[in-house]
Amino acid sequence: MTGFSTTIAFGLVRRLAAVGLDTPSLYLLIAEAAAIPAIQADIAAEVQVQLGVGLRHLAATDVRLDCLENAFARDPDRPVTLITLDRWLPKLATALDRNVVLLTRSGAILLLADPRAAERLLTAAPNLRNRLSDVLAIRPDEAFGGTVA
């Protein structure tokens, strides 16, 4: 998968700050699988620093399909939700596609996936694809990553 703009968590959260958290935002973020833990940490830190709120983090395997309404209920203290597609779950992709309106009511939603899962999601979820604010390649933040504190 090529052709998507590349960003880091800093730039992504600047975008969220610019449009405001009351505006529904839905981003698909594509990262190499090995980089995903570092990117999760970067996003959580930037959401705290730039927006002054907490990040709600869900792994795809934690999302219960029979309780999507609860999973995507708006949390005023954590209005940004990061869903990591840690494995390909076709039923979850279908559920996200069917409930995309519910999804975008929750504030800012960030879907983080490796290139393979992202490609499958874009193919399997056309409604979701149409609602995406953007698809971005994301890489770890080199300024504050690595072994330093």
Partner: protein, 176 residues
């Protein structure tokens, strides 16, 4: 006690207060401070005071032992000023402590003052009457003007919002 000894005692007292303020100012982590400073610089861009740094500064590096350094090799103001800074932090049992910093502000050529420097020197022997550990230099002056211990974010804000727009501006330049 001679007048010189009394002044030395007063200067040592002032430096002791600086040390106490430094010891009380724990930094959660160098990475968090770096992200906060980066955000502060970006906000200056949003206010049109600075050019975009594209989130590239400051950069965090491990220096040696328990030392980390946040370094900004250059951030440009919209009017031609330029800011460089580096901040060294040391890991301690209580948390991260400020060890040293240097903020160098180069003012635009139109100003009557070329630069302003704010330094926190590392803790080594010094003559407290001549060189307070935390001090300010105006222009090329060798005078070390005592400067209060402040959080680096406050210093950055002071530089961007008060010192840079104002220092060395002539009366004619200052009149809108």
């Amino acid at each position: 006690m001679s007048a010189e000894d009394e002044l030395l005692l007063l200067a040592r007292g002032r430096d002791s207060q600086m040390e106490a303020a430094l010891g009380a100012m724990l930094i959660e982590s160098p990475a968090l401070l770096g992200r906060e400073l980066r955000q502060d610089l970006s906000r200056q861009f949003d206010y049109s005071r600075m050019k975009d740094t594209y989130g590239r500064v400051p950069q965090l590096t491990a220096v040696e032992g328990a030392l980390n350094e946040l370094k900004c090799p250059g951030a440009e103001f919209a009017d031609g000023g330029r800011l460089l800074f580096d901040i060294q932090l040391e890991d301690s049992q209580r948390g991260w402590l400020l060890k040293r910093f240097r903020f160098h502000l180069h003012l635009p050529p139109s100003r009557s003052i070329g630069m302003v420097r704010i330094h926190l020197n590392p803790k080594i022997w010094h003559d407290p009457l001549r060189i307070p550990r935390c001090h300010l230099h105006v222009g090329d002056s060798g005078a070390h003007v005592p400067f209060p211990i402040m959080h680096p974010r406050l210093i950055l804000s002071l530089i961007c919002e008060h010192i840079e727009p104002d220092f060395g501006v002539s009366a004619e330049q200052g009149v809108p």
